[in-house]
Subunit: 359 residues, 2 copies
C-alpha cells in the first residue's frame, strides 16, 4: 500500500495540474489514458500482443470486462463452452445473462482439443451449437493447469472452423513462479475471434478493482454500450500506473517466489498426507489454486461446512461445475496463508476427511 | 489530491494490517463498511435521514446507483416521469433500459405538484400510467432550481395516491452556497416509496467515482442483482473516508464560497449583457449550472457548435428534454472556469447570439 501511495504522491508532485483537471471530470470511458498506454506496452513486452492504447478498455476488475463481453456476445439461451470446471464468478455471470453453459472435458493440461471438437459436434447435432468459448488458459481457476501452446493452436483451428469466438481470461498471468508462459490466444490470432481479458487487481490487490479487455472493434463497441457509466476509478489508475512503471518486475520477483513457497508447502502436505489414498492433485506453475481430486464416489462437497468449521477451508468442485459434477473434488487456495499454515492445513484436512469417512 | 493521499497514508499508518487484509479480497458488495458507516452518520447529520450502514449501497459514482435502480424498477416500455428538463446521463440511462420518458412541467422552483398530477391523470387516461418519478430536487441539473419543502410534501402525497415511487437524486446536495437546504424526500417519507441517490464524486472529484443509494430492501436486492461485480474501489474508499472525516466541513466552507463567486460573476454577466433582450435565467443556490431561456422561437441549439468554436460552450436545452423541447434554452456551467472567465464568456455569448441573429 505504501508503494501505491508513494506512486500517487509522485504523480501529484510532478503533474499536479493535470491530475486536478482530470479528476474534475468523469474518467474516460475506456479508462485512464496513461494506464492504457502502460497496458499496451506491457501486453507487448509480456505477451507479444500488439494493441493500441485505444484498443484497450479498462474496467472495474476483470469481472466487469467479462460481464460486458458476455452481454456483447450472448443472447439468452446461447450455448457457451467453458472448461469442465470454471471460475465461479464467470459461471455466475454466464448464468445471470441466461447462457446455457456446458463444460468441455479437461485433463491436467486443461482443455483437450479433440474432446472439445467432439463436444461441439455433439451439441450441434442436438441443435445446441456453441456460440463461444470461455477459457482461463494459464493457471486455470480452479484447476491450476496451463494449456500448452500446441493445444492453443489446435483450439484456434477448431474455433475458426466452427465460427466460435474465444474469450481468454489471463487474470493470473503475472502470478507465474515456475515454467514458461505459453503464447496467449490473442498473440496467436488477431483475426478478431479472440477476446483477451486480464487484470491488475490480482497482481497488486483485488481491492483495487482494475482489469481490462481487448476485443475487435465491433465487440468492443457493443460491450461499451452495456457500461453503466464512465471508466474505472481514475484515482486508483494513477496509483497503479505509477506503481507498476517503477515496480512491476520487482513486485513479481518479490511476490512470486513467496507464492511458490506457499504452493510447495501445500504440495508437501499433500504428498505427506494424501499419498496412497487414491487422491490426486494438480501442481500449478502459478496462480493461487491447487485442485484436489478424491476417488469417484467420495463426496467432499457435502461435508465442506463441517470441515470449514473444524479449521480448513476449501471450495467444493460442484461450485465450479457447469455440468454439475465435481462432488469428489475441491479447490485448495495456497495464496493467502503462510507455507506453514498451508502444510498444517493439509495435514488437518486429511485427518478430517478420514473422520468423515471419505478417505 | 494531497488531502486524499494524506488520508490514505494515515489509514495505512494506523490500520495497516486491516488494509492489507481488506485489499486482498474483493470489496464488500455494498462497498467499504467504514465509508458506509460514515455515510450513515453524514445522512443523519446533513439530511436527517435514518439509515443503517447496511442499508446503504456504495457504487461507482451515483451513475451506477441510478443505472442499477432503473433496472430494478423499470420494464421496457414503462412510463417514467422526470422534470421537463433532466440530466442527460439519467435520460440516456432511462432510454437505454427502454423507458418511455415523459417530462413534467416545471417553473423556477422545479416540479409543479398540480401540473404533475395533471400529467399523471392525462397519461393514465391514455393507458400510459407512470411507473415512477425521477427528480433532482436540489440544485437541479440542468435548471439549477431547488424544490421547496411544501411542494415535496404535495408530491409525496401524489406519489402515494398514484402508487408512484420517487427516485430523488441529491448528487449536488453538498454544493449549496446560498439559502437553506430543503428536506429530502427520504426524510419526509421512509415508507419505502422513496429511493435516495447521492454522490461523493461531485463533492470531492468526479474522478473518484463514488456514489450511493438507499432504497427499500426489496428494491435494493433487485438492484444488486444487476451489479457486474463487487462493490466500488476500496482504495478510493479509504481515501474518501479518511479525507471527509477530517475535512468535510472545511472542504465545503472552502469550495462553496468559490462556487458562489463563480456563479455571481456569471449572473453579473447575464445582467449586464442579456438584460432587456427578452432572455431569462435562473439564479441557483448551489450546484454547477444556470439555465438560460431565450424567447420562444429563438433556436440556440442549431448554432451551438459554431458558438463553441468561437469560444463559449453551453449545452442546448434539447439535450435535456424528454419531450423534445428546449431549442431556445441552454445550460451554462459556472463551476469550472474562474469568475472572470465566466463573466467574459457571457459577454462573448451575447455577442455571438447577436451575430447569429437569435438575440
Amino acid at each position: 500500500m505504501y508503494g501505491l501511495i508513494e506512486a500517487l504522491k509522485a504523480k501529484v508532485d510532478s503533474d499536479g495540474e493535470q491530475v486536478a483537471r482530470e479528476m474534475a471530470y468523469y474518467p474516460h470511458v475506456l479508462g485512464s489514458p496513461e494506464l492504457r498506454e502502460y497496458t499496451s506496452a506491457k501486453l507487448k513486452e509480456d505477451r507479444n500482443i500488439d494493441v493500441d492504447p485505444d484498443g484497450i478498455v479498462l474496467t472495474a476488475g476483470s469481472g466487469e470486462s467479462i460481464a460486458l463481453l458476455i452481454q456483447a456476445i450472448t443472447d439468452p439461451g446461447d450455448v457457451v463452452l467453458t472448461e469442465q470446471f470454471v471460475y465461479g464468478g464467470t459461471l455466475n455471470q454466464l448464468r445471470k445473462f441466461k447462457a446455457d453453459v456446458v463444460g468441455a472435458p479437461i485433463d491436467d493440461k486443461g482443455l483437450i482439443p479433440e474432446a472439445l471438437e467432439e463436444t461441439i459436434k455433439k451439441l450441434t447435432a442436438e441443435g445446441r451449437k456453441p456460440k463461444w468459448l470461455y477459457t482461463i488458459p494459464e493457471h486455470q481457476n480452479p484447476t491450476g493447469s496451463t494449456l500448452p501452446d500446441s493445444r492453443r493452436r489446435e483450439i484456434l483451428d477448431i474455433a475458426h472452423r466452427y465460427g466460435m469466438p474465444i474469450m481468454e481470461d489471463e487474470c493470473y498471468i503475472d502470478l507465474r513462479f515456475d515454467g514458461e508462459a505459453q503464447s496467449a490466444f490473442r498473440e496467436l490470432d488477431d483475426s478478431g475471434i479472440v477476446m483477451h481479458v486480464a487484470s491488475f487487481s490480482k497482481l497488486i490487490a483485488p481491492g483495487l478493482r482494475m482489469g481490462y479487455f481487448v476485443a475487435s472493434q465491433e465487440v468492443t463497441e457493443r460491450a461499451l454500450s452495456f457500461k453503466h457509466g464512465s471508466g474505472p476509478n481514475q484515482f486508483a489508475a494513477y496509483a497503479i500506473t505509477g506503481y507498476l512503471k517503477e515496480n512491476l518486475h520487482k513486485h513479481r520477483d518479490t511476490f512470486n517466489p513467496i507464492l511458490k513457497e506457499k504452493k510447495e508447502a501445500m504440495q508437501r502436505g499433500l504428498e505427506d498426507h494424501f499419498s496412497g489414498t487414491g487422491a490426486t492433485w494438480s501442481n500449478p506453475q502459478g496462480g493461487c489454486y491447487t485442485w484436489l481430486e478424491l476417488p469417484e464416489g467420495k463426496d467432499i462437497s457435502a461435508i465442506r461446512d463441517e470441515v470449514f468449521d473444524a479449521g480448513v477451508g476449501y471450495l467444493a468442485g460442484i461450485n465450479f461445475a457447469p455440468n454439475g459434477d465435481g462432488q469428489n473434488m475441491a479447490r485448495l487456495c495456497f495464496a493467502f496463508e503462510t507455507p506453514e499454515k498451508n502444510y498444517d492445513g493439509i495435514a488437518l484436512l486429511a485427518q478430517l476427511f478420514r473422520k468423515h469417512g471419505v478417505m
